[in-house]
Amino acid sequence: MVEVKGINKSFGDNHVLHDFSAKFEAGKVNLIIGQSGQGKSVLTKCIVGLMEVDSGSVLYNDRDFSKMNRKERKGIRTEIGMLFQGSALFDSMTVEENIMFPLKMFTKMSKKEMEDRANFCLERVDLVGRNKLLPAELSGGMMKRVAIARAISMKPKYLFCDEPNSGLDPSTSILIDNLIQEITYEYNMTTVVITHDMNSVIEIGDHIVFIYNGRNWWQGTKEEIIKTDNKEINNFVYASKFMKTLKGKLA
């Protein structure tokens, strides 16, 4: 479980996160949703330690990550997998080398064992036989899948996904969403997904946190978010004409 307690983060006069608290449980797909500029990415960067919090704490299974030094954090970071918005694959390495990279750095596996693990991960994301391709030779959806394969290669306990569907067509988005959901249940991971894609909310959202003006404005399930009368959430969820029509029909 990942828990954030009373996080504050400012950039000069710009107070981005206000006393933000939330719990993200293991074995569930936790979604952080909200409009652009509300602090979703900053929150995730604070949780994974790419940014330091001004105050508050981040707990990984009750271990206070925000108070740890670099060496102590390294231990937890090997338990974290992250899927970046732009995939962030190492473009000088092949697909296989990308997946094997964390194994090379942090395990004592033999080359054969690493190759087997890479093949297993590639099979898991349905990319068998693409081992020797470079990231530049892959489509957007394939790059995301390789990034997922790399993220799960170390069997992480925690998976963070920053807008995994951005730039993808609807059917590939659903494929990526389902893959994230499957591996979350399969490995009992604590998965946190940042998104503003309502399809993802409906498809995979077990627990949803709505962030507004840097605050935890609302949290609940996908069934609850459809029915809530919270004005800010409705403005977000039913922003499009299609969703408004759908809401009218449902009503």
């Binding site: 994974v48 330690g49 790419l50 670099r70 954090r73 390294k74 231990g75 970071r77 090997t78 974290i80 992250m82 970046f84 918005q85 732009g86 962030a88 694959l89 190492f90 473009d91 990279f101 964390p102 090379k104 750095m105 942090f106 170390m154 963070f160």
Partner: protein, 246 residues
């Protein structure tokens, strides 16, 4: 004020760069790869520049020797001295600051803006050490070889230019090249080269690593890397010359 902040950031960065590597084997492989990328791949441009630089030094020396009291072997002597003391270590390092420095800044800068560096950090890899240390070791180790290569080619360029144009004979030029030779000049040149290699890689990595924004900012970082590497090389050259030769 911003310069002081930048110097502080640079010192902090170097502390991280020289922290203990996670996996020596991976770093070793990367260092070998960097020797190829920033060292061996620069041999071509160094060769072309050195030959023509030596040729021009020799021709200009010859054309400026009006006094009949000056022996012809002076051409070889001046070509050798200028090449070893200044042209090869300093001018070639400035050229390498352009070629290698921009390459390093744009490589690391692109990794920064495409979140590849964040990916390394999330995995628990010390991104600064992983990316910069192998480049520093490769440059400090290999640039002296490039400079020795440059010295040889430069003197050879000078030899062919003056002997082919009849400004000095083979014996005169070779005698000049060998006259008053001091081994300490070579050591001075190689010490300078190692320092310049360190400056080129560290300053360029600094600008690359702290790139913010997008493609345009990577270009700006690359330009800053070349400009500041060159300025620091020139300042350090002045200080080292005072310290070692005076």
């Amino acid at each position: 004020m911003s310069y002081i902040v930048s110097i502080g950031k640079y010192v902090g960065m170097m502390k991280e760069v020289f922290s203990k590597p996670e996996r020596f084997k991976v770093y070793y492989t990367r260092t070998i790869s960097e020797i190829n990328t920033i060292g061996i791949n620069s041999a071509g441009i160094v060769a072309i520049l050195s030959v023509f630089m030596g040729a021009v030094i020799a021709l200009q020396t010859a054309s400026n020797m009006d006094s009949p009291l000056l022996p012809k072997y002076t051409i070889g002597y001046i070509t050798r001295s200028s090449t070893i003391l200044e042209f090869s270590p300093t001018i070639i390092s400035l050229i390498l600051a352009g070629k290698v420095g921009s390459n390093i800044a744009s490589e690391i800068g692109t990794m920064k803006v495409t979140e590849q560096i964040d990916a390394l950090e999330i995995m628990g890899v010390n991104s600064l050490s992983f990316l910069v240390l192998p480049k520093i070791i490769a440059a400090v180790f290999f640039f002296p070889f490039l400079i020795i290569f440059s010295m040889g080619l430069s003197i050879l360029g000078g030899y062919y230019s003056v002997t082919a144009s009849g400004l000095a004979s083979h014996e005169e030029f070779v005698y000049g090249v060998r006259a008053f030779f001091k081994t300490s000049d070579i050591i001075y040149a190689l010490v300078k080269t190692c320092v310049f290699a360190f400056i080129i890689v560290s300053v360029s990595s600094f600008y690359g690593y702290y790139t913010k924004g997008g493609a345009l900012d990577v270009g700006t970082s690359s330009t800053h890397a070349v400009v500041w590497s060159s300025i620091v090389i020139l300042l350090t050259n002045f200080v080292l010359t005072q310290l070692i030769l005076m």
